[in-house]
């Protein structure tokens, strides 16, 4: 993985091969878990970074649930390599891994990602089919069992924000739900999207502030300060509903309601107005600055157990 080009976009096969190689090179630290299968029967993989022990508390990071947001999957690849590079040399990361495991799901929506590489670069949803509709796919960030089907999601299968026929209808979502429930000890959950330079915490489906709003706001402030310190990228932060718009059935609303207090979602940078076509030369800077924010959240999680 030292010769892997982190500054370009890669196909699903290349990313999956990268994961295998990373595991082979670092078997003392990294393992690969198949947590489920997609609608089109692609394996859904999570990398587990662990220094050992059973059922240790854990931090979850996922990238690429919206398939066209390529800079997120590419950042996920970079994060994976960063963890193996720094796990001994970086005091902060070492202290995190001394106490907790990290789970990293790089391609959260493999069917959608493959579709963006072969048929439609702008595909965002899953690839599930629906009876009585010619339209395909569900927005996997509207398919969680938290305010499911409420406003801020669409009941129209042709919409980009279609919530699906029922909560967890998408195997890509169900796989994470099952994993989080069966693990039972995940303390931070970070879901990464692009592109509007935001760090958000729950809720998205209701204006009622979360009980931990003040604390999550303070963590966000520190994380954004760290992120901005590298290249000056400007981020806004706050709850989903007050910072962007009402969105029901979202990932981190569900994780928060499962008791995962440190639930956050990122919208990564676009400093050049390219949207989902962010030039590859921005991948590494994006990942680097995001990593600083992730470290703030991870270290805070370790230092503030609950």
């Amino acid at each position: 993985t030292n010769t892997f080009n982190y500054a370009t976009y890669h196909s699903l096969d290349e990313i999956y091969a990268f994961m295998d190689l990373l595991v082979a090179e670092n078997s003392h630290l990294v393992s690969k878990i198949e947590i489920g299968r997609s609608t089109e029967n692609r394996p859904i993989y999570v990398l587990k970074f662990s220094k050992g022990g059973t059922n240790r508390p854990a931090i979850w990071i996922d990238t690429g649930i919206h398939s066209r947001e390529w800079v997120t999957q590419a950042s996920g690849v970079w994060f994976a390599k960063k963890i193996v590079q720094d796990h001994e040399n970086d005091e902060g990361l070492a202290s995190v891994l001394d106490k907790m495991d990290i789970f990293l799901e790089i391609v959260t929506n493999p069917d959608g990602f493959a579709f963006t590489q072969t048929k439609n670069r702008m595909w965002r949803k899953t690839r599930s089919k629906h009876s009585n509709s010619i339209c395909v796919g569900v927005d996997p960030n509207r398919n969680w069992d938290a305010g499911f089907g409420g406003s801020g999601a669409s009941g129209n299968p042709c919409s980009e924000t279609y919530h699906g026929p029922y909560a967890n209808s998408e195997p890509e979502v169900k796989a994470i739900v099952d994993f989080v429930k069966s693990h039972g000890n995940i303390k931070a959950f970070i879901s990464i999207h692009s592109y509007s330079q935001l760090l958000l915490y729950p809720y998205g489906y209701t204006t009622t502030p979360v009980p931990d709003q003040k604390e999550l706001h303070e963590i966000s402030k520190k994380a954004v300060a760290a992120l901005s310190s590298l290249y000056g990228t400007k981020y806004k932060y706050g709850s989903i509903i007050t910072t962007i718009y009402k969105a029901s059935g979202g990932t981190i609303d569900w994780t928060y309601e499962q008791g995962i207090k440190y639930s956050f979602t990122f919208e990564l940078r676009d400093t050049g107005r390219y949207g989902f076509l962010l030039p590859a030369k921005e991948i590494v800077p994006t990942a680097q600055e995001t990593w600083l924010a992730l470290m703030v959240i991870m270290q805070y999680t370790v230092e503030h157990p609950y």
């Binding site: 290349e14 190689l21 962007i244 989902f276």
Partner: protein, 98 residues
């Protein structure tokens, strides 16, 4: 493969509640096949929308007749997709071990 020849991405910044309302209404006009990259979220916040070529003229006319200003964020989406594809092919030097 779906192509995006002639598609543009417009950036619209609603400057008042009336603008915002009109931009929000665009989300319901399914015949225009607009793809909102950044959905309307408030006055002063940019809205980025990918517009297929056949919808460009009617949408621009609609915005202009309502006095809503916009800028062209991406002139031709396909040109960027082509660049991206070219770059991926050029950089495909890394081959996984069997």
């Amino acid at each position: 493969t779906e192509t995006f020849v002639g598609h543009q991405v417009l950036r619209i910044v609603p400057t008042n509640d009336e603008d915002l309302q009109k931009v929000q209404e665009l989300q319901d006009l399914e015949e225009l096949q607009l793809d909102f990259w950044l959905a309307p979220r408030g006055v002063g916040h940019p809205v980025d929308v990918r517009v297929p070529f056949p919808s460009l003229q009617p949408l621009k006319a609609h915005l202009e007749s309502n006095g809503i200003s916009y800028s062209i964020m991406i002139e031709d989406v396909q040109a960027l997709v082509d660049d991206e594809q070219m770059e991926m092919l050029r950089e495909r030097r890394w081959l996984p071990l069997s």
